[in-house]
Symmetry: C2
Subunit: 239 residues, 2 copies
Amino acid sequence: MIDHFIAKLRARDDLSEVEETALRAAVVQTKQFRADTTVIRSGDELTQSWLLMSGFAARFKDMHNGNRQILELNIPGDFVDLHGFLLKTIDHSVGTLTPCMFAIVPHTALTRISEEMPHLSRLLWLQTVLDAAIHREWVTTLGQRPATGRLAQLFLELHYRLNLVGLAHGDEFDFPLTQSEIAEITGLTPVHVNRTLKALRERNLATARSGKVQILDRTGLELEAGFDPTYLNLTRRPR
Amino acid sequence: MIDHFIAKLRARDDLSEVEETALRAAVVQTKQFRADTTVIRSGDELTQSWLLMSGFAARFKDMHNGNRQILELNIPGDFVDLHGFLLKTIDHSVGTLTPCMFAIVPHTALTRISEEMPHLSRLLWLQTVLDAAIHREWVTTLGQRPATGRLAQLFLELHYRLNLVGLAHGDEFDFPLTQSEIAEITGLTPVHVNRTLKALRERNLATARSGKVQILDRTGLELEAGFDPTYLNLTRRPR
DNA sequence: CGGGGTTTTGACATGGGTCAAGGAACGTGG
DNA sequence: CCACGTTCCTTGACCCATGTCAAAACCCCG
């Protein structure tokens, strides 16, 4: 049920039977949402955290001019608001982009883990720190990379992250987002996303069509983005 | 010694005597650096974390073209690499912008806290989560705000953060950064930072001169940035 | 087979980048 | 305390990546 999440933890550190059991027991229920639904509204008081089990979701901020900026795309196995456990209220919204299934973990369960299981707590802490690392990479992406680099970065990052939870198939992965949504991630306009995708396609770097992304020339794409996967912390280390 | 940091913790939650003592005992030494020095290099293996006591420092990534993007400006009281405790190696560098004094906290001390003091651990966790919130705001700043908005955002955020540790004086604060460094924060060129500062000055919103920023028209600046301080989580809540 | 949401494309506008040069500020050595 | 070099700031002229606006074309899905 929360197997994708467990897989993410195990990719970085050992997880004992006891810890795994504690995690699975922490989930009290699951909930399904249709596409384009706001699940958590900026400013809500939180008493539980939401773990994405299937589908694509996003954290976003609404701007005064009606635009929204997507802060991070969430994929299965992501805790979309684990930071809400500490913050208690959240400075952004969370919504679905496709139909999504969530597991709900009450903060009381997280508090118990934090009181009684220090190692598991550190692994949860690590998850929020990995999120921050992804945010940092997006600060540099939006601050420094041109349009082609932003899309290349997006595709490469997603490929690595989806791979980790077994959702990439070779050089291809499902990506049922609209070009407008890609624009909200990359800080570009939908029109320019369209042109940039065309450029990537014509240069045989990658295609994004009919809900799938295919990486045609990994080396070329990595060059385009100046991609370095270090920030994804894919290696195992004891915490 | 680490009073700024303690002040930041107390701004959000209670901190017992025992916890305060444990924190103060965790510092094993201090170290002074001159301006423009790289303190932690991207990829270094970390066994200790650095707490900034005085001066301005920055986390940054070097780009392939020689530019660098500053990910977050650090002010006194900031743990510049508390996330390094979990990550063990870090995906960016940390350097000084002005002369800086750091306190050094070994990871062994943090591990002990994490094993024995769950509430204090949560407060440390919270600090990394607050960093992530700042990163998120910068994702939206770089993705959505035009040059004037970026500078307005920077000045307002800094004013709040410096205020929290008692380093703002009314509507003014020390800000001894170069326009090139402001460019590295805001993802602009130094030339355009100069022009944008001029615009803010001429519109009587803010001045940044001779190492000081002065906010002349707070409401106007906030409007320019579409500023909302929620993400700084300035309210007290039990964790 | 009709109609909403997408994707594509073209023509044009503009915010911010680039290049270049002069001026102010400031630390350092004499 | 001055002279000088170096770094930083400022401004002008020009350019380009991306935004804007608008209209087709496409594509599901009902």
